[in-house]
């Protein structure tokens, strides 16, 4: 009998078996189908020109109870799709998953928060959406409010909250979920540094209490501190499955290309490279109609996602007289500030005078090397920007 029990507990809590997911990309339509196009094509006996795209291909791995696994990979590697399948939001095309515990997923904090509802009402609705029973929420209510620190505004509609307060409330509800398996996607990408620390601390508690965590993030520090093993996804498949250190190292190696080429978008190509001690950002765009002002914005952040510097031509009052083109290449030479050696994140967006057409969802990572730095420079203490100083003593 004892042996039998042992066998049961030895079974992995999560078995992912040959999971594949196919998306059909339509080349004519936007995000959703247009009935007219369907009808017209049917009348013309023409099939919608579609193309199959495998977001995930034959993913298999097992997770033991109590393990925490970091899932990393570059944009479009299939991380989000994998999490969506695990959370039952979208079904796999092939393969199956055996789960031996309740799964709760936090693909976003504050899902279902409504600005017209009060803080109290939002706690109940959001908690219930996340799978908590009403009684559970009631019994945990004081703790949730305590953790969020918004007790004074409990009966105020959420629309009067600051974004920081909304975030704290959202995370507080999620923090008191008690599933056996917790799936977290990039929740920590938002909020101030102090709050991120608080969230990380709470998640460490969760993983120490023996629950299983799957964690997707671009914040390598967070992945390293939270997860023992990791998975690096590449083009829909598993590239490396090993200790977090190995996986993160491989990730940084692959990210060194600093190039992102995108299809079916306004922006075709983004590259950032180091030239001497400065940076060169190259972006290729192609809009359907000519635009009068190529407004390319960029932001450089440290590896944890805190912005260091950024701008766009409108901010720096740059004029492009008589500009009217639908395609072109923009080059930005960034000569200052001088960044110290390390890995950075780049975010890019693009638009015209009036609106934005494009925005990078995930950061592009790049390295700065061989900067003749000051001796013993420590970014944690001295910051990422090397000051340009002239010293005089009198």
């Amino acid at each position: 009998m004892l042996i039998l029990l042992d066998e049961i507990t030895m079974k992995p809590i999560l078995e992912i078996q040959d999971i594949s997911k196919k998306f059909r990309i339509s080349h004519q339509t936007g995000s959703y189908l247009n009935l007219r196009e369907r009808v017209v094509n049917a009348l013309k006996f023409e099939k919608n020109s579609t193309e199959d795209f495998w977001a995930l291909k034959d993913i298999s791995f097992e997770v033991q109870a109590g393990e925490s696994i970091g899932i990393i990979g570059r944009n479009g590697a299939g991380k989000s799709t994998l999490l969506k399948i695990l959370s039952k939001i979208t079904p796999p095309t092939q393969g199956r998953i055996i789960s031996r515990g309740r799964i709760a997923s936090l693909l976003e904090v504050g899902t279902g928060f409504h600005p017209e509802l009060t803080g109290r009402e939002n706690i109940f609705f959001n908690g219930s959406l996340l799978g908590m029973k009403r009684k559970e929420i009631e019994s945990r209510f004081d703790e949730i409010v305590d953790f969020s620190g918004v007790e004074k505004f409990l009966d105020t509609p959420l629309k009067h909250y600051s974004s920081g307060m909304q975030l704290r409330l959202a995370f507080a509800v999620a923090a008191f979920l008690e599933p056996e398996i917790l799936i977290i996607d990039e929740v920590l990408a938002v909020g101030d540094a102090e709050f991120q620390k608080k969230c990380l601390g709470k998640m460490e508690d969760v993983s120490k209490s023996g629950r299983t965590i799957l964690f997707v993030s671009h914040n390598m520090d967070a992945v390293l501190s939270l997860c023992k093993s990791g998975i690096l996804l590449k083009e829909g498949g598993i590239d490396v499955f090993g200790t977090t250190q190995d996986v993160v190292k491989k990730y940084h190696l692959e990210m060194d290309q600093n190039v992102l080429s995108i299809e079916n978008e306004v922006i075709k190509f983004i590259e950032i490279k180091q030239i001497d001690e400065g940076l060169l950002l190259t972006v290729k765009f192609n809009t359907k109609t000519p635009i009068d002002y190529p407004n390319l914005g960029f932001s450089i952040a440290d590896i944890s996602g805190h912005a260091i510097t950024g701008t766009n031509p409108r901010k720096s009052k740059r004029e492009f007289p008589n500009f009217s083109r639908s395609e072109g290449v923009i080059e930005v030479k960034i000569q200052s500030p001088k960044l110290s050696n390390g890995t950075y994140q780049l975010f890019v967006w693009f638009g015209d005078w009036h609106s934005n057409f494009f925005e990078t969802k995930d950061p592009i990572l790049f390295q700065i090397n061989d900067i003749a730095e000051e001796h013993n420079r420590n970014p944690k203490l001295d910051g990422y920007v090397i000051p340009h100083c002239e010293w005089t003593v009198s």
């Binding site: 507990t9 998306f23 247009n34 789960s99 899902t111 509802l117 219930s128 009403r134």
Partner: protein, 275 residues
Amino acid sequence: MQKDIEYIIEPTEKKFLNFAVLWQYRELFYFFTWRDIKIKYKQTALGFLWAILQPLLMMSIFTLFFGRALNIPSQNLPYPIYVFSGLLIWNIFSTGLNNAANSMVNNASIIKKIYFPRLIVPVSSILVALFDFLMALILFISILIFYKQPVSWTIVFYWPFAMLFSVIATLGLGCWLAALNVKYRDFRYVIPFLIQVLFFLTPVLYPISLLKHPLLQYALATSPMYIAVEFFRLPLTNTLPNMDFVWISLASNIVFLLIGVIYFRRTEDFFADFA
């Protein structure tokens, strides 16, 4: 070791309806309905009174034009009562269908991020319409008392069934349109038009006998709401409708329910990909 929970995520479920899962998530029905009712009447000075005022104003307008000006027969009922009873039960359908058809699109941000049985969304949005109905029903009963309208005891049987059939009619078409609306946003523009057409094709403002051609009467009886309107008025008029019409409407009621729910179930797995 905790309770043995073991479940499998596979390409597509072939079950028609998984009642066990719906039961497990039963509290969400309540929370979605509760949220929608709260939001609907937030920041309105009159609040729930709107649920009563809307049919009341409609009744006045219709009484003026159809009752007084056109002198439409009303099966021996005072025309305001005739119209109000029709509007009341009709509003479950029109409000509910409108809510349900847009519900999946309106809640797309939730659907893309969290799993729960998707059927909860349209069903709850119909329950919101039922709440409005119950509020207006209080007013209707006061009107009945005011007019000293005699009411048959069969009311205890016919009214619940009228409500049930109107909910079924709403659910069938509502689920169908909700699923179609996710795929083709064209339906957003079709829905108000469809509701308006069905309003005039269902004997809400006039008795079916007003149409002289029997074929036309049969055609109108295919409206899934015909049976609900007829049943709701029966305890007041005390005239049994043509049983053929009742059966036709009931059949259409159930056919739409099956089409709607099956279509919804067949497409719900992919809502997150389309929305």
